[in-house]
């Protein structure tokens, strides 16, 4: 029990590191735009999401109506429904409803990514350790950014900015190397994502929608062309 908790906390470390650098910037931006530090901390501690918070912050500052703030952040966060659905198949099926409701608060992109590459089901202590670790990183980074801006020099923050992507790469490359359909999934999703980033007409689409489009489109195509047999899924999970 205890061991799984610490395993989760340890797996949360690279996320925590990446979060400190991102939430640091968030805290700084809040204070620079005239909000008090406690508002920055409150946003981070109740939202625990990056894109949604940055979008929400700029809307709050421009004086947008509540409805617009709600709809925009909701669209950015819709991708979590897919991740939460995926995660529901990965967590220990005996996990009680209340535990699910509490821990789902910490189901960020990165927490989801780490859970999905676990061998076997994700247990309550493991997920708790993971979520607590990343929550601390996110909250702490925000508070540091909002209060002691000089503590983390720009050169360190810049280097830490790549941590989260390094982690994503560590998750997707090993299976992509071994399993062809996973390689196709990765390449196709990157191609579509790049297209929507660089083609001027398409870059109007918000990144939240692009991720949903990539996830649904590419996964559906792959599920149709390369259905996964249950046994193989288990095997992959075991030697991943």
């Amino acid at each position: 029990m205890n061991q799984s908790f610490w395993k989760g906390a340890k797996d949360g470390l690279p996320i925590c590191l990446g979060y400190v650098s991102v939430s640091f910037v968030f805290g700084m931006m809040c204070v620079e735009s005239g909000l008090p530090a406690w508002v920055a901390a409150l946003i981070s501690m109740t939202n625990l999401t990056s894109a949604g918070q940055f979008a929400g912050l700029s809307l709050i500052l421009t004086g947008a109506p509540l409805m617009e703030i709600g709809v925009t952040t909701f669209v950015i966060n819709l991708r979590y429904m897919l991740m939460s659905l995926s995660l529901s198949q990965k967590v220990d099926s005996r996990m009680p409803t209340l535990t699910r409701a509490i821990l789902s608060f910490g189901n960020t992109d990165e927490v989801f990514a780490v859970c999905m590459q676990q061998k076997g089901p994700v247990t309550t202590p493991y997920l708790s350790g993971l979520v607590i670790c990343v929550y601390i990183g996110w909250a702490l980074g925000t508070i540091l950014g909002a209060t002691v801006t000089s503590l983390l020099p720009e050169m360190v923050r810049s280097a830490m900015g790549i941590a989260i992507y390094g982690m994503f790469i560590a998750i997707i490359i090993p299976p992509a190397r071994k399993i062809c359909p996973v390689l196709y999934t990765v390449l196709l999703a990157m191609a579509i994502s790049g297209l929507f980033y660089y083609v001027p007409a398409l870059s109007q689409v918000s990144r939240g929608w692009v991720i949903i489009l990539c996830a649904v489109g590419v996964s559906a195509l792959m599920a149709w062309r390369f259905p996964v047999k249950q046994e193989r899924r288990e095997e992959d999970a075991n030697d991943a």
Partner: protein, 107 residues
């Protein structure tokens, strides 16, 4: 003068629309889904999501494109050799740091 009432309301709205999409599927789908298509679909979702989030954002995650490319190359190499999350993430950070110091010296 800041309108704290409006700001707090906005934060509450944001918190709710962030929490609900994360919570509902996890709480509602307690049974294993047996439909083979949905199973396969969910098997591919993490890879598609992570790939789409990594590229091209990783290229702009540091102070310069050059250092990001160096960090990316290091991460790809270590991940290809099957290293864990923490070593890959830390090495990428280290390579970016060294690369940016070198660039600062040269330019």
């Amino acid at each position: 003068m800041l309108d704290y009432g409006r700001i707090l309301a906005a934060i509450a709205v944001m918190a709710v629309v962030t929490y609900l999409p994360r919570m509902l599927p996890l709480v509602l789908f307690k049974r294993r889904i047996t439909n083979p298509f949905v199973q396969s679909f969910l098997y591919y979702v993490p890879y598609a999501v992570l790939a789409a989030m990594t590229f091209p954002e990783v290229l702009y995650s540091t102070a310069s494109l050059v250092s990001a490319l160096a960090g990316l190359a290091a991460a790809l190499l270590l991940a290809y050799r099957g290293k864990g999350l923490l070593p890959v993430a830390l090495t990428a950070c280290g390579v970016v740091f060294v690369c940016e110091r070198l660039l600062a010296l040269l330019l």
